[in-house]
Symmetry: C2
């Protein structure tokens, strides 16, 4: 018999809960968990032994052996719950837990079959570190209603661990504008979810992670997340952002974005005004063409490197065409950057068109 | 209370059951149901009025109005079950039923909420024509365990109508070899389904349909289907093929495929042998380059136009590189074509390389 039923929405975050939710186990071009290694090591710290939950894949032995080898390489011992004579006791005695990816329905059904949900919940409430990857991130939310997996088996309920009060939709894939496929995109499916549910959804792109610690929910990794809330347009968020604001019912509105044209910027610079220019493109783009006296901070790093921008000076942010810089400004504002931020309309392309044709377009 | 529970696996096909299952409601580049119109008209024949089930989408009124307009344009009156004061009675009195696409979980949950599953099953057993599209095709199978939809609501069970004994996986999307996305492909997800279930799965590409009539299950439409069975490698099937063989437990093995090189073919033609050459490429490819005395029957039409191939003559089948012609030969053999079929190795490209460089390569 489960002792108590805690549900995500009603959980009071006691500040000792520690959860790391990874979108995907393997990132294109690298090996199993490579992209998450530094975050996992930082998160686990001096934990000695991790309990693995392999239920999301069919071949549990093979899966446990892969995970064990990978965690050993990071310096952690690993026990798999499927080898334990008493799975609940294994959970109750674990130092930390890692639930791997695979099929979310299969995973959740097994958690019910072995009656582990309450045990895991209680331990995480008590401060045991929880790492989930893909399906293992999905089941950390209140329900599995935002999975993309096929319902190959039927769990008794879609209700999941509820360790966090938001839903994860892992492997978030942006719509492909060139696609001729007419099936719903992940965005359309999540919007259908919001037709029937109120819970905030974090669409975690591959490479993205969410880390919950000391009561704050921070986006980690490399690729950003798309946030879906009932009654709001989807929002883009960047690594380093605190996502608590999207979970709480009262979301502060982003300020109206200031813009400047290339011609105006040229006039103000010629007039000797002290403007700080931040370029949020990638290094290879900066090599091709750049504005004089601009500082490069790629979009994906902008929140984490916020302290390199002087809030006392007016800041013009630019990219190639003006879209990435707008995202950067929104993210900086949400992150609490106090200075004045102005978006260069049309980006460096407009600068080349209006001001200086010698700046190459690409 | 449901009167009886019929399950797909145990249903005896009485030969009067008529079911048309469409992969997708809208094909890229055309309007709602355009690609299925001729098949729907042929299937419904002189039916006057069709009952529509709009439960898969949130806005039932809007959905019913779209469907009604489209069916009116085909010459059919349409009533929507969500407007009926007694939905079960509406089903019991319907001449034909059309269940539209959207979210499969939402659709199935509503069918349970309104207690319609047994009514629909009984009517279809009694000969009422059933048309499903996308989610509406999914629920025609024994379960919804092969849907790609998000489980945004929880139906009491994944068990569905069981009108047919196979599973449909609609909007079947082939893996993209250039993708950097690491989430499971639809093929991988269906193989996970087969780890847990024994039922045959038809992966219906957009543009494909399955028509069940007089006890036979025929693949229709333009784009073919991929068939998944436990213990077998996935198989490719073409429009016009009878799929019953994949549902029955004993599947005949395809014969070993004969091949011929371009050089050998040239020698045999020069020797005056009577060989029939069938080109299964598309018309625009035939315009660019062709073999002398070859007959064009594009791959997607090969089964339906089988009677244009003389089984008394030896037949060489070719395409650009040899893959489509191999599929054509397998499909013709499964369809019972009695003549000798030989695949041109390397296709017309090999002919250009080995025999006649004046034939353009593309």
């Amino acid at each position: 018999m489960p002792l108590i039923h805690l549900r995500g929405e009603n959980m009071i975050d006691n500040g000792i809960k520690r959860v790391l939710l990874v979108s995907n186990s393997t990132l294109y071009g690298s090996s199993y968990l490579d992209h998450a290694e530094s975050e996992i090591r930082d998160f686990l710290g001096n934990v000695g032994r991790v309990l693995f939950v392999p239920y999301a894949l069919y071949d549990r032995d093979a899966y446990a052996s892969t995970a064990r080898e990978r965690y050993r390489a990071m310096g952690y011992d690993m026990e798999s719950v499927h080898e334990a004579s008493d799975p609940r006791r294994a959970v109750n005695e674990a130092e930390a837990i890692f639930i791997g990816g695979g099929n979310t329905f299969r995973l959740l059904k097994s958690l019910y079959d072995f009656d582990l949900l309450d045990s895991v919940r209680l331990r995480v409430e008590g401060g045991m570190p929880y790492i989930g990857s893909s399906a293992g991130s999905n089941v950390a939310g209140p329900t599995i209603r935002t999975t993309k997996d096929m319902p190959i088996v039927q769990p008794p309920s879609f209700d999941a661990l509820g360790l966090v009060s938001f839903q994860i939709s892992p492997h978030y894939l942006d719509p492909d504008p060139n696609s001729m496929h007419m099936g719903e995109t992940q965005e359309q499916r999540i919007l259908q979810f919001l037709e029937e549910n109120d819970t905030t959804v974090f669409g975690l792109r591959e490479g993205a992670m969410v880390r919950v610690e000391r009561g704050s929910t921070v986006l980690k990794g490399s690729s950003g997340a798309r946030i879906f809330r009932k009654g709001y347009a989807p929002a883009e968020t960047l690594p380093g952002e605190n996502l608590n604001q999207f979970i709480s019912p009262n979301t502060p509105e982003v300020r109206q974005m200031e813009e400047i044209t290339a011609t105006e910027l040229k006039q103000r610079l010629d007039g000797g005004e002290d403007l700080q220019i931040i370029d949020v493109r990638e290094p290879d783009e900066y090599e091709i063409a750049r504005l004089e006296n601009s500082k490069l901070i790629p979009l994906g790093q902008i929140v984490n490197r916020m302290d390199e921008i002087d809030p006392a000076r007016e800041t013009v942010v630019h990219c190639q065409g003006g879209k990435r810089s707008a995202k950067a400004i929104e993210a900086l504002q949400r992150a609490g950057f106090a200075g004045r931020l102005v978006n260069l309309k049309g980006g460096i392309t407009a600068w080349s068109d209006e001001v200086d044709p010698s700046v190459p377009k690409y």
